[in-house]
Symmetry: C2
Subunit: 216 residues, 2 copies
Amino acid sequence: MPPRRAGRTPAKNAAPKRIRLGTDERRAQLLSLAKSSFSARAYDDVSIDDLARDARISKGLLYHYFPTKRDLYVAGLHEIADELVAAITAVPDNLAPIERVRAGLDAYLDHIMRLPQAYVSLMRGGIGSDPEVAAVIESVRAKLFDQFVHGTPFAAILAGNAKFEIAVRGWIGFVEGATIDWAANPRLSREDLRELFTSVLFEILRVVLPNMIPTI
Amino acid sequence: MPPRRAGRTPAKNAAPKRIRLGTDERRAQLLSLAKSSFSARAYDDVSIDDLARDARISKGLLYHYFPTKRDLYVAGLHEIADELVAAITAVPDNLAPIERVRAGLDAYLDHIMRLPQAYVSLMRGGIGSDPEVAAVIESVRAKLFDQFVHGTPFAAILAGNAKFEIAVRGWIGFVEGATIDWAANPRLSREDLRELFTSVLFEILRVVLPNMIPTI
């Protein structure tokens, strides 16, 4: 192997504080940093100065990618929401309905366990109180609803069943309400919570579809 | 009956556009106006000009009471929240548990039926996406939780039962999630929705308290 020539590795000894990245890489780096920073600390405790320092770029360059801290937060939240939806919808189709529900809830609770305080402040005031942020939360709910209502073996029978659809919306509300309580004060194991959600869902379905659920 | 003397009714023929009110009356008038205006139209469609015209006062005087439209909205929302909590907590103590739940739900749904679109935009983005507004919503949830957990005959047995408390939080989320769907698109009668909520609550309680609920 020929020895490297210094002229071909000009940056090798310079140990540059500022790393050149392409536009896409820089954006990805900033989003990754935003996700970890806003998950670890409250929104108001994360400053643009900290973010620029951690990314080793100037504040000016950071503002070029994300004009405000809120823009960076919302972009990071979109990514987390997409990851959450992808994890939940990745549940294999060939599982029994109750196992699909369990697997989806495991994916949901796994995500939230990684950033419980961020979840609580997102869902209850704080930065969650922003129209664009609220729209992201609502789009996640809509995707979960579609996944559940259209992705199940009994979807065709139930399409347009008002009680069923309202009950699924309500159950998503149940999961959120109970998860916020749990994330702030985890008094049950994740498995106990998942089993509570699963049991409650099937009890709710028995209420709204009394002649169908025993066969699922 | 002696004829009225003009000197004693100076305002009679003047038909004044602007009515003098004391501070408390003026504040109450503006709050009442805010509640009806924001219930009938979207937050962004209600202007300070409209509100001042409807109240027959100058914009300057309106700003004296409420420095911004948002302040007036939040003050009106506090009143509606207080009325809602008062209606729900006014349910007689001597009813059977299931009848207490039904009566509380009737009070809740009655309130929401009066202003369904305002409820949807309050709970899903829009002006609901404001930290102070979110705090009002959260305080209503906390009061409903207390009413349910501490106001029932079986409260003493269940105090501190994590599954029970998480399930009640979750059920409040269920009621909200399903009510938002229903307020936007009322496909069930109010009675059907109330019965759905009541049945779901008792099914949830059977899940978390398997040995107790049959006796309630």
